[in-house]
Structure formats: C-alpha cells, structure tokens
C-alpha cells in the first residue's frame, strides 16, 4: 500500500473532485482519495502495483493537468516525527511542572525529606522520555561531525543546557541534596521544539522543488526520413531536426531550419510580452513557445547546455550563496559558549581552592544562570512572531532570513504583471464602421473566446454573457476568423492584428499606427470592412501609486527593471515618477542588482517580480518577493510570496521586518545584559541555583513576551490611503 500526492492546478470545485474521482475509480488498486481544495491536491492511496505515471495519465485523460508532488509538498515524515516529539514533551512537561510546584511550595513551607525525594524521583522518571526521545534532534545537531571536528552551532547551547541541567539534577536526586532542574529541562525542550516545529511547517509549505528545465516537454518529435517520430528529449543530439508544433514549447536551443518563419513567445527569457517573428536561420531558445504555425528546428545545444539551463543554474547558485550566510545566533553561540564553559571551569577551580564543598553548587549556578536560553530564543522568537504577523497581513515569508536583512535601500520592480495588472484591459473602443461600439465588443468577445493570445484576455470578462454561436472558426497566430450564425446575418468576421483584418492602420488617422505584434490594438473587421478598433493597455495596479509613495516615505529608492521596450516603460515610469531600466534580459537584471549593491554602500536590495525571467534577479537580490499571480516555480524561488494582489503588502513586509529586527536587537541586548549581570553573582556564590533557575526562566519568558508584542501592533501602514485597496482580492488568512 502506498500513497501518492498530486497537485492539480485546474481543480476548482467539487464537480472537479467528482470527475477526478470517477476517472481514478476506473483504475484497479485504488483504496482511497483525499481532496484538499485549498492546496488543490489529491492524495491517493493505492496498491504498490499502481505507478504514479498511471495516475497522472488517468487524470490527464479526464481533462485535468496533474503534477506529481514530491515529499516537500505534503506533510513529510520529518514533520510527523517532530510533532510526536513535541506532543510527548508537552505531556511530560505538565507532569513535571505539577510535581515541581509541590517541591517549590515545600521549599517555602517545609516538606518531609522523604516526600521531597519521592517527588524528585517521580519528576526524574517523567523527564527521562523528554531527554532521551524529545530532545534527540538537538543532540544530533550539536554532535554533527563529532568527534572529528566540533562545530559549535545554534543547537550546542541547547544540547549542553539540557545535558548539564538533567545530569546535575539526577546527581542531586541520587545524593539527596541540592536543587533539581527537571522542570526547566522539560519546559525548555518543549518550547524549543515548538519553535522548531512552527518554523519547519512554515518552510515546508509551497516548497515545490522544481526547476525551469524540468518544465520542458519530455517528448519531442524528431524528423527521421521525413517522418515525425516521437523520441525522449534526452535522446536528442546536436544536429537533429525537430518538428515544433503550433503551441508547443521549444525543448532546447537551436536554429530555425531553412526558410521557415516562426512566431515566438519569448516572455520566459526576455520578459517581453509581445510575440516576435523570427526567420530562417535565427536562433531560438529552449523554454519559448511557438505561437505561429509549426516549423522545423535544428538542434544546436543539448537541453542541459541551453540558455534556459544556464539561467536555472545562475538562480540556484545565487540562492545557495545567500543561504550560506551564517546566522547571527550561530555567530553569537560560537563566541558565547566557549566563554561560558571557560567561566564555569574558572568558577569551579576557584571554589575548589577556597571552599571545595561549595564548588558544585556555584558551578551549577553559573551554568544555569548563564544558560543561553534567552540568547538562543532571542532571534527565533522574534522571527516566528514576525512570520505570524505577516501571514495575517497576507504575506507569506518562506525564507525567514528575509526578515533579518538590514539597511534595505533600493527596491527593483518588474513592470508587466508586477507594477501593472497581469491582464490587459480595453482602454477605449473606436467604431470604424456602421456598428455600435457595444455590438462590436459583443462580436469581438465571441471570436476572442477561441484565441490563445494574451491580448485576448482583455475580452475575458465578457465571456460570461450570452455570445453568438460562431461557425467555421479558425484560429491564426495573429487573430481569429469566424462566421456569425444565419440568424444574425451570417457575416464573416475577423478579429486580430491590422494585417490579419486587412486594414491599413495608417489609413485611420485618429491614432498612431500600431499592430497586434508590437502592441496593443486589436481590430474587428467584416469582409475587409473595418468595424472597430480596440485600444488595449496593461493598467497600473490600483495601489501602484500608494506603493511608490510608501516607499518614498520609508526612504526606499524604487527602480523599474523591465524586459519591455523603452516606450512602454517610459509610460509607466512617467506616471509614477520613477527611474526605469528597459530591455533588461534576465542577466542584465542580475547585473543591475549587483551594481546597485556595490554603489549603494552595500545597502540591501529588494526585488519584486512575477515572471520566470525574473528568477535570477529574485535569487540575487537580498530579499525577493513574488507576486500572487505567478507560477509555483517563481514562488518557490522567492523569499517572500504575496498572498493578495496588493502591492502595498510589500510595505507591510518592510515595516514588519524592521520591527522584527528592532525586537531582535532588544532581545539580544536584554539577554546579554542579564547574563553579564547574573554570571558574576552566581560565580561568587550570591545566587543559589533556585534563584539562578528563576532568573533563567524569567529572562526567556521576557524575550518571548517581547517578541509577542509584535502580534498586537495592528496599523502598520498608518496612512489611510494605503488601506483603501479593494478587499476583494484579499485571501482569507489562515487558508492555504
């Protein structure tokens, strides 16, 4: 019996569930199916004989597009293991605390010695599973690479504190004198596990391990002796001739064979949303889409050597170097832990020389009082609170390190789909013939319902209305042809570029000439007679201006980096009063970010993008943010994902991360001050271990409470106009 989890991106409602269920029912060996509508996943339990490929095929035949999820998309066994440890620690902690309360009360009111020992032994027994089972991950991390080389990391102080506190307590219980710290051990383990568990779950979400090249088609059509033979992509050699169908994705780099002409969608590589025409011999790249008629491609590079693969590697490298940064807490631990150990040894030696009977008590007091609980909690507690706060605001932080980035100075933002809305809209309609504008729109929408061109999305909102049933519809790369039903006159209509409609755009002198290819006018014509011209544009998002103003208020410099042409960029930059860098290829964007970092005195950079062509830039920037309307791949490579279409959510992220760093600084300051003040007291025997334990617990508690303050502060974007964004796009917090 095994389970497979599939992600089905076009599964929207219970009717879809029903359809998928029916299609899978046809397979033998399926035991159960569980649908998760929020994550659009189905988990299938099936016999071992059923392969994931069969499931995929079966769902595909029912008209859906499933993708196989690997472990990271679902609750992993690691998550479950962590949850078990957390639960057991919680249960044991309650028991230990209960016993310890009796012991504390006894310390003040008097307690029979035998009774106290009985309670101590009981607490010890309840504490054993905590140390031997729940705290295992800390020990494992702390002793990683041991004994060959000792690495002092975040878990070293935790493991050390648990070991010392527990072994000292056992020793004291056994000899029947001195204090015990079972409650501290259990509580500390529980709290640390809790923080880890939350962190792990947050990180596991949405992390679809994917790469650009993995999205390429696996099967291609090779021309062999004039026949199209389907072969695996890996079998393709340089020099092979491949047939690229209309609508297909180009699997690898190559040249257009002979005199063919191809209409390509290169948005993946260049970010340019308009399609380009390439002629025989021209170079075409893997990952681009063929929007025109089919053509023959002569392979020049294997898929792993293609430009797309190079971009993929670039992104991965940048990501790896970013994650390689040592965390502050680890750096602190590396300095602090040896210092504590040295101090404890010194105390022990000193007391042995002066008064040997007090040596253990004083040494323990030093170790307990200086236990870097507060220090090790200082950063994670603040980060966790920040993550929760941002989640409430519709911002999902996947890489908590993004919150730690300081000196944010420059914001780089992609234009199409990021600063502007992802779909074009109709800005105005000019009737050129004898039909009214409303009629023209009606007919154009009916035709565009068949089109696949991105500009056709401008008519999408009209598809809900009753549209005429067209006949003889043919879809061309530059437009759609169709005939009205006899009842409505039977006229043949064309919608698309001026060329396609047989219109000379210069003849209509009202507006400058524009074609469908280099933007943004769509024509409607009936048998060569122009009927209407639809002017389209990608409007700025409603809150683009508020976003720019907010950035200015926060001393952030905003620059548009776009793959689009100069004129398109200028329009947006003039409207918002921003600098713009147009015609940026993915590599150019990376270079721009690097240069900005150097010139701005190492001020940090933030990149906001939505396209696959933004990937290297997202990986290079110190903080990367992916918009809501983008692919899983982009989301998986960005540090931060917006869960609402609001740009102003980015400002909220900036505010919360600033607040978060402030809290971290306060926490670290407090933890250091406490340790500096308490260690001398303990070393000279002024603080008995129970005072030390109290000090340690309260300092940890203070650090936690300080972090929780962040959850309460609601109005982050305090200027009212920033909050006037339509609430319709706001997802429910907590869902997904």
């Amino acid at each position: 019996m095994s389970t497979t989890t599939l992600h089905i991106k076009d599964m929207h409602c219970s009717a879809c569930h029903h359809k998928i269920r029916q299609s899978l029912d046809a397979l033998t060996g399926i035991t159960s199916m569980q649908f998760n509508p929020v994550r659009r996943q189905v988990t299938v339990t099936h016999a071992d004989g059923v392969t994931p490929a069969e499931l995929l095929l079966q769902i595909e035949t029912s008209g859906f597009q499933p993708t196989l999820l690997n472990q990271t998309g679902q609750t992993s066994p690691g998550d479950r293991q962590m949850l078990k440890r957390l639960g057991v620690a919680g249960l044991a902690m309650m028991q230990v605390m209960m016993l310890q309360i009796a012991l504390y009360a006894g310390a003040f009111q008097g307690i029979q010695a035998e009774l106290a020992r009985l309670l101590e032994y009981a607490a010890m027994i309840f504490c054993i599973p905590v140390v031997s089972y729940c705290a295992v991950p800390f020990f494992r991390q702390a002793t990683r690479g041991w004994p060959r080389h000792l690495s002092i990391n975040m878990d070293t102080p935790i493991a050390l504190a648990i070991t010392i506190a527990f072994s000292a307590s056992v020793f004291n219980t056994w000899r029947g004198a001195g204090d015990t710290y079972y409650d501290s051990v259990a509580m500390f383990t529980f709290l640390m596990l809790g923080a880890r568990y939350i962190d792990q779950r947050l990180r596991g979400r949405l992390q679809l391990q994917n790469s650009l090249t993995a999205a390429l088609p696996r099967e291609v059509l090779r021309l062999q002796a004039g026949r199209k033979v389907p072969v695996d992509l890996n079998a393709v050699q340089a020099g092979d001739l491949l047939w690229i169908d209309q609508g297909a994705q180009i699997p690898t780099d190559g040249n257009i064979w002979e005199q063919a002409t191809a209409l390509l969608d290169e948005a993946l590589l260049s970010g340019e949303s308009a399609w380009v025409e390439r002629h025989g011999g021209a170079r075409v790249y893997a990952g681009t889409f063929n929007r025109g008629s089919g053509f023959t491609l002569r392979v020049t590079a294997l898929p792993q050597d293609s430009r797309l693969a190079a971009i993929d590697r670039l992104a991965d490298q940048a990501l790896a170097s970013k994650n390689g940064l040592a965390r502050l807490a680890d750096k602190v631990a590396r300095v602090f832990i040896p210092a504590i150990l040295a101090m404890a040894t010194l105390t022990c030696a000193g007391w042995l020389w002066v008064a040997p009977e007090q040596a253990l008590s004083a040494t323990l007091a030093v170790l307990v009082v200086s236990c870097p609980c507060a220090l090790s909690l200082a950063t994670p507690a603040a980060l966790t609170a920040g993550l929760i706060k941002l989640r409430q605001l519709g911002v999902m932080v996947k890489n908590p390190r993004a919150l730690e980035v300081d000196h944010l100075q420059q914001v780089f933002i992609d234009k199409t789909g990021t600063l502007t809305r992802p779909d074009p809209t109709i800005s105005n309609i000019q009737a050129l013939g004898n039909l009214t504008e409303a009629d023209c729109l009606h007919y154009a929408a009916a035709l565009q319902a068949y089109a696949t061109h991105p500009l056709a999305n401008a008519f999408k909102h009209l598809h809900q209305e009753p549209l005429p049933e067209l006949q003889d519809v043919t879809v061309h790369p530059e437009g759609v042809y169709g005939r009205l039903p006899q009842a409505e006159g039977g006229t043949a209509l064309r919608v698309g570029s001026a060329d396609f409609c047989g219109i000379n755009p210069t003849a209509d002198n009202s507006t400058p000439p524009q074609t469908l290819l280099n933007h943004k006018a769509v024509y409607l014509a009936a048998e060569g007679q122009p009927l209407a011209r639809f002017n389209l544009h990608n409007p700025l998002r409603e809150d683009a201006e508020a976003f720019v103003q907010g950035c200015r208020a926060r001393q952030l410099e905003v620059t548009i980096v776009s793959g689009d042409t100069d004129s398109q960029c200028q329009q947006a930059s003039a409207q918002l009063g921003l600098q713009a860098i147009s015609r940026s290829q993915p590599e150019d964007k990376t270079a721009t970010l690097r240069a900005a970092k150097v010139s701005a005195d190492n001020g940090a950079t933030l990149y906001v993008g939505d396209g696959l062509n933004d990937l290297p830039a997202l990986a290079t920037a110190d903080v990367s943010i992916a918009m809501l309307e983008t692919s899983d791949l982009v989301k998986s490579k960005a540090d931060v994902n917006l869960l609402s279409p609001r740009l102003t959510a980015i400002l909220e992220f900036v505010d919360v991360s600033r607040r978060c760093r402030q809290i971290i600084r306060q926490n670290l300051f407090w933890a250091f001050t406490y340790n500096l003040a308490a260690i001398p007291l303990a070393a000279f025997g002024f603080a008995p271990p129970w005072v030390a334990a109290l000090g340690m617990s309260s300092s940890s508690l203070l650090v936690m409470l300080n972090a929780c303050r962040m959850l309460g502060t609601v109005p982050l974007t305090n200027s009212p106009e920033l909050n006037n964004v339509p609430a319709s796009g706001q997802p429910q917090t907590g869902a997904g």
């Binding site: 219970s14 569980q34 998760n36 479950r80 639960g87 057991v88 028991q95």
Partner: protein, 52 residues
Amino acid sequence: MEILLLLLPLSAVLLGVAAWAFVWSVNHKQFDDLERSAMNIFDDDDREDPHE
C-alpha cells in the same frame, strides 16, 4: 501521604496512555491535513462514497 505511592504510578500510566494515543493519531495522519475537513461542507456530492 502514602496515597502518593499509588497516585504517582497511576499518573505515569495515564501519561503513557495519553502519549501512546497522541503518537498513534500522528502516525495515522490525523494531523496531516487540518484544512480539508473544514472545507468538506462545500462538497455537495451526496452520492454514497465507497472510499471514505
């Protein structure tokens, strides 16, 4: 206070049962998907389901 000699082992047994129950429920994926059940109400599929 002799009663403690009974109560302490008893609480240990109860703790064991509680821990076992929790571990069992985690192992049986009771905590894997906390969203789905809340969304089931929207599933208007009334037909008898042989799988669930």
